[in-house]
Structure formats: structure tokens, C-alpha cells
Symmetry: C2
Subunit: 369 residues, 2 copies
């Protein structure tokens, strides 16, 4: 699980993006857990969501406050069982946690890319992961797995590289970003670009557009929770007060929480990465890319596990069910489960028990076959 870097494209063979532009060099930050078996048939690629990174499980140092983003799911005896499987997780293209993105140095100028970084897609993120797997000598994955934007990458893997994927686990996901999803992303980007410190994306080396990025994160955070989970967690309670004072020091707990989440996010995330990655999600439309959703799934030979969460209003169960029906129409092997769960879109990160059982038994059927 020690992070490693792999760089490609330095001496030719650059990354050709969906836009037609080329990018080189490209560095990929990744971590692995468990051991690749001699035949190389036990590799699982975990795909992180919007603000995730390569650090899926464990702690880099014993004193690290938080373990990896899917620690409850990845490890010995856990659903992604590192006694059996070789787990890989890499930071996405456009990110800011070790993989090349807008904060990386543009070799043409010797300065950070900023907005000279090319616009990327979910497909481009997957192309980088393909290069990483080539480098690791893994020709075929036992599984690709991810929630939210991670699920989009899993769908892209299964349909763009069907020969390299035995199964796909797609959680809390959609086959295309809806107008509402685009709208939330657009407001977040507007918050960032309206921050005078953003400076057209050329803020590196100086103060960052912290307020804009924090507001973008606050908006996102609301969409990751549900009304019910917010009500359970905060209700209408005030922060550090019993009674209304009817002045601006009255703050509800949910306000303080969101502001805290926004401020914390700024410490670990790059504002331009927010812009590029959210734009990549906006473009995501699996059906449009292949003519129709049925046509997209016709290409795949992977076995599918689709999991939705009842309270996820960002990518509601109906959107995963639509995918399940489409896969069935194409005669594919698909399991679909809707878990009743109050935590909203974030359920895939929080509801580990029932989701974990579904995942471990699904993986066994694929690994055993």
C-alpha cells in the first residue's frame, strides 16, 4: 500500500485523449494491496470517486488520522479480500494526488498547466489506467469496481475494454450525468472561477482560491447526503447555543458542518482539478457514446453487480435499474440490488455491511468460475 508512481509517454507513445489532443509525460500515482497470483488472474482495480485518491485502505503511518477511503471494504478477510485478491487503486488523470493534472508541470513551459491542461473525459482516465495495467503486466482484470464517478470508470472499462474485464461492480452510479447533475457541477465551477484568487486558473505559487473551492465542496456535500441523514445528524440544532439569539452568531450545526467540510477540502484538493474532473463527469453519457445504452452493453462480456441506495437522490435507484434492464435485454449476466439506506449518495462509502456481503459473494462467483 506504499504509494508508487509510474510515468509514461516521456519517449513517444503519448496519451491520446478523446479530444484528439496528446499529453505527455503522464505520471500515475497508485497503490496495491495483496499479491498478484502467478497466473495474474486475481487483480481487481478500484476506481475512486470525485475527490478520492489512490489511497484506498490502511494507513501510511500509524499516526495517520484517517485510513484510506474504502478501508472498511479492503483488507484481509474484508469484501475486497487481500488474502485472495490483488487490489490496485490509482489516482485519476486530472487529479491532484500524484497523478498528472492541471497542477502538474507543463513541460512546454516549465510552469503548472493551469487551464492549458487539456479537457479530459472519463474515457481518458481509463486509458491511463490501461497503461498502468500494461506496466504491471496484468492483461485481464478479475474486476473493476467503484462508486459514483468510480462506477462511471467501471462502466467505461467494461464497454471500451471488454476483453480486459471479467466483471464490473458499479455502485451509486449513473450511465449519464443528468441535467441536474451538470447543474450542480456548473455552480461549483462558477464558485471557483468567481473567486478573484483563481486568476484564470493561474494561481499556483500564490494564494489558492480557497473560498470558491470551499463553496463548491459545500454544494457537492449537500448532494452526497440525504435529507434524512442530515435530519438525523443535525436536525435544527444550533452550534454551541441552546437558544436563538437572533443575530449572526446563531449558526445551525449543519451550517458549521458544511463550512468545516469546505475548509478541510481546500487543504487537500486543487481547485483546477475540481473544474477538470467535474467537466469530465458532465461529458459522461455511455449511451450517447455508443448510440444507445443497449449498444454500449452489447460490447461487454463482463458479469455485472449493480448496487443502488434508496436515499441516493443524486444518482437515484431508477438510473441503476435502467442499466440493469438494458444489460438484461442484451442477455448479459447482471445482479442488481437496491439497499434501503438513509445515507444518500455517500451510502456506498458508509454502508459497508450489506454492500460488503453482496460484493464478497459476487467476487467469489467470478473468481471461482
Amino acid at each position: 500500500m506504499r504509494p508508487r508512481d509510474f510515468t509514461f509517454g516521456e519517449n513517444g507513445d503519448p496519451l491520446v485523449l478523446d479530444s484528439g489532443k496528446v499529453l505527455s509525460p503522464v505520471t500515475v500515482r497508485y497503490e496495491t494491496y495483496g499479491t498478484l497470483n502467478p497466473r495474474g488472474t486475481n487483480a481487481i482495480l478500484l476506481l475512486h470517486a470525485f475527490s478520492g485518491d489512490a489511497h484506498a485502505a490502511g494507513r501510511h503511518r500509524p499516526d495517520q488520522a484517517q485510513p484510506g477511503w474504502w478501508d472498511a471494504m479492503v483488507g484481509p478477510g474484508k469484501p475486497f479480500d487481500t488474502n485472495k485478491y490483488f487490489i490496485i487503486c490509482s489516482n485519476v488523470l486530472g487529479g491532484c494526488q500524484g497523478t498528472t493534472g492541471p497542477s502538474s508541470t507543463n513541460p512546454a513551459t516549465g510552469r503548472p498547466y493551469g487551464l492549458s491542461f487539456p479537457v479530459i473525459t472519463i474515457g481518458d482516465m481509463v486509458k491511463v489506467q490501461v497503461r498502468l495495467l500494461d506496466h504491471l503486466g496484468i492483461s485481464r482484470l478479475l474486476a473493476v469496481a467503484g462508486g459514483s464517478m468510480g462506477g462511471m470508470q467501471a462502466l467505461e472499462w467494461a464497454t471500451a475494454h471488454p476483453d480486459r474485464v471479467a466483471s464490473a461492480l458499479v455502485l451509486a452510479c449513473t450511465a449519464r450525468l443528468t441535467a441536474q447533475g451538470i447543474a450542480f457541477n456548473a455552480v461549483g465551477r462558477n464558485a471557483i472561477t468567481s473567486d478573484p484568487l483563481w486568476k484564470g486558473g493561474d494561481y499556483y505559487g500564490g494564494p489558492v482560491p480557497a473560498r470558491g473551492l470551499a463553496i463548491a465542496r459545500m454544494i457537492g456535500h449537500i448532494t452526497y447526503l440525504s435529507e434524512e441523514s442530515m435530519h438525523r445528524k443535525f436536525g435544527r440544532r444550533l452550534q454551541q447555543k441552546e437558544q436563538y439569539g437572533f443575530d449572526f452568531t446563531d449558526q445551525f450545526q449543519v451550517e458549521s458542518y458544511l463550512e468545516h467540510q469546505g475548509d478541510k477540502f481546500v487543504e487537500r484538493f486543487d481547485a483546477n482539478s475540481y473544474i477538470y474532473i467535474s467537466k469530465a463527469m458532465d461529458y459522461f453519457d455511455l449511451g450517447e457514446k455508443h448510440g444507445s445504452l443497449n449498444a454500449a452493453f452489447r460490447r461487454t462480456s463482463a458479469k455485472f453487480l449493480l448496487v443502488s441506495f434508496s436515499s441516493d437522490w443524486l444518482y437515484p435507484p431508477a438510473q441503476l435499474k435502467e442499466m440493469a434492464f438494458s444489460l438484461m435485454r442484451e442477455g448479459k449476466d447482471v445482479s442488481y440490488a437496491e439497499l434501503t439506506c438513509p445515507y444518500g449518495h455517500d451510502s456506498f462509502l458508509i454502508e459497508t455491511e450489506r454492500q460488503g456481503r453482496l460484493i464478497s459473494s459476487f467476487l467469489e462467483t467470478v473468481y471461482g468460475s
Copy 2:
């Protein structure tokens, strides 16, 4: 319908706010439609939502681009029939369309209040309306009616001034702002206060915090629509392009629409009013104020019409149903209808036909009795 101003508190008898602070003078901008009958029994007070104003119907000049905000509902032969009823609509306290608010002159300093304006509540808005009705010589209203924040005022009228209200029409509303509602408001306020041009609220006479206010409006706008209405209206279509160019000139229609709405809003709304009015909504909790929702409704003798809209996810039908059940438990006369309608929270402004029939027949039963 020509706007008029009424000012009180100049010579004593100031407005005593829920906070205990006093405010004077207070000017109220209002409009009326139709004629008060000799016994004064046909008066209806319309209560506007967050960004509304006193101009409910008609045009002030023939060349005015948009008529009043509820023009489809107010006029001769319309549900709020000006051949029968005397309709009053006033701009709320804290607003910026003629009624005293943070952009008004603070008599103590001779300069705009800004953040020296006291924090206000929905109850305070209603107290100002009570003064206006006293001034107009109307002791008892045939009805109070409003959607969204207008519905909150109607609820406040019926419970705080039960002797002055014969009926209350409450549309697309909630008895208390939820944690999620507070969260959306908080992000909007943060967008405004993060704009360097906001200057602690003291921006009058200089450039206004336009970007922050536009972003707050964009967030609000998403909550007023539904996923379905956004999908119908915009889908994933690009603005002025047929195909993705994979650069930042690619803009989805929904993005352009939101940005346009944000920019338009800045021309007519004051950023500090956004802060004060959203804060007033955050405080709104009818049950908490009276001990319980049942206790609140126990006080009222009004007849109620509650209307919810199936696609309203900001104040979902369940929240209005809860009020209907509470009113029934208290033995009150209540009609509840849920209209199946795709337009989200804004349905009360858009779905005029079925809503109109409900309103006109409800008003007839009250007026006739």
C-alpha cells in the same frame, strides 16, 4: 395595482421584533387589486416567496416585459378574482423592492443599514403586514395565501393572529425549514459573503457582490426545479453547439440557463436582503415556536387549503401532509391536495390550472359562508 408606500413608527410605536430589538421607521411597499366591499369582508392578502415583491399581477406600464409574479392567478375571473375580492400584496420586511430592508437608510447614521439591520423572522414580516392592514382599516382577512416562504407567512398569520384570518392557503410549503433547507441557504450566504465586493455588507454606493449573489441564486434555482423538469427543458443539449469540442467553450444548455438566471437576479435583488430573508426562513419552525405543531394549530380558527406538488423535493408532499394530519387531529377544517406535476418547487408559480380550480372553489366556500 399602482404601488403605494405606507410608513409607520416615525413618531413612536416602532416595530418590536422577535429579537426584542426595535425598528423605525418602517416603510411597506404594497399593491392592491379589486375593490374592498363596504363591510370589508372580501380582503385577501397574498404573501410572496423569497425573491418576490408587491407586484403580484398586471403590468405597471404596457411595455413592461413581465407581468406580476402571480399574474395567471390574480385578476378578473381568475382564481383570485378581482371582481369579487380585494387583493393586497406587500413586499416583505428585509426585502429590497420598496419595503424597509438592509439597503434602506439607517436613521441613526444616515447611511444604508447593511449588517446593522436587525435579524428578522417570518413572524416579523407578518407583524409589518398587520400594521399595513390596520392602516387600510381591514380588521379581518377573508384569506391569506402564499407559496413557499409565502406559505410560511400564511401559517404564521393563521396561528399568531387567529382572530384576523378566516382562511389560509398554504402552497408548496413546510412547517419548519429542514437541515437540508438550512444547508442550501447557508451555502448561498457563504457565496455572497465570500465575494470580496460584499465588504462585510457595506457595499452600497459601490460595486455590488454580483458574482456571489449570482451563485447563491443558481443554487436556489436548482432547488426550485426538479430533475424531471430540467431533463425536459434542457436534457444534455449543448448551448450553440451540435457536438462536443472538448474545451471550455462546451457549455450545456442548463449551465447557460443557470448563469443567465444568476446574472438577471443581480439586477433586481440586493445581496444583503438575500442574507436576511434566507436567515428568517432558517429560523422558521412553527412547532418549535408553539411547543408542537398540534399546539400551533390549536390556536387557529381558520379554514385551510394545503397544496403540495409531487415533484417538489425542496418541500416535499410529506411535509404538507404532516401539517394536514396535525390540523385534522386538532379538529380543524382542512383540505389537502397533492398535484402530480413535473415542475418541482416552482410548480405553485407554473401549474395554474388545477391549482387555480382548487383555489377558486376553496375561496368560494369561505366567501359564501
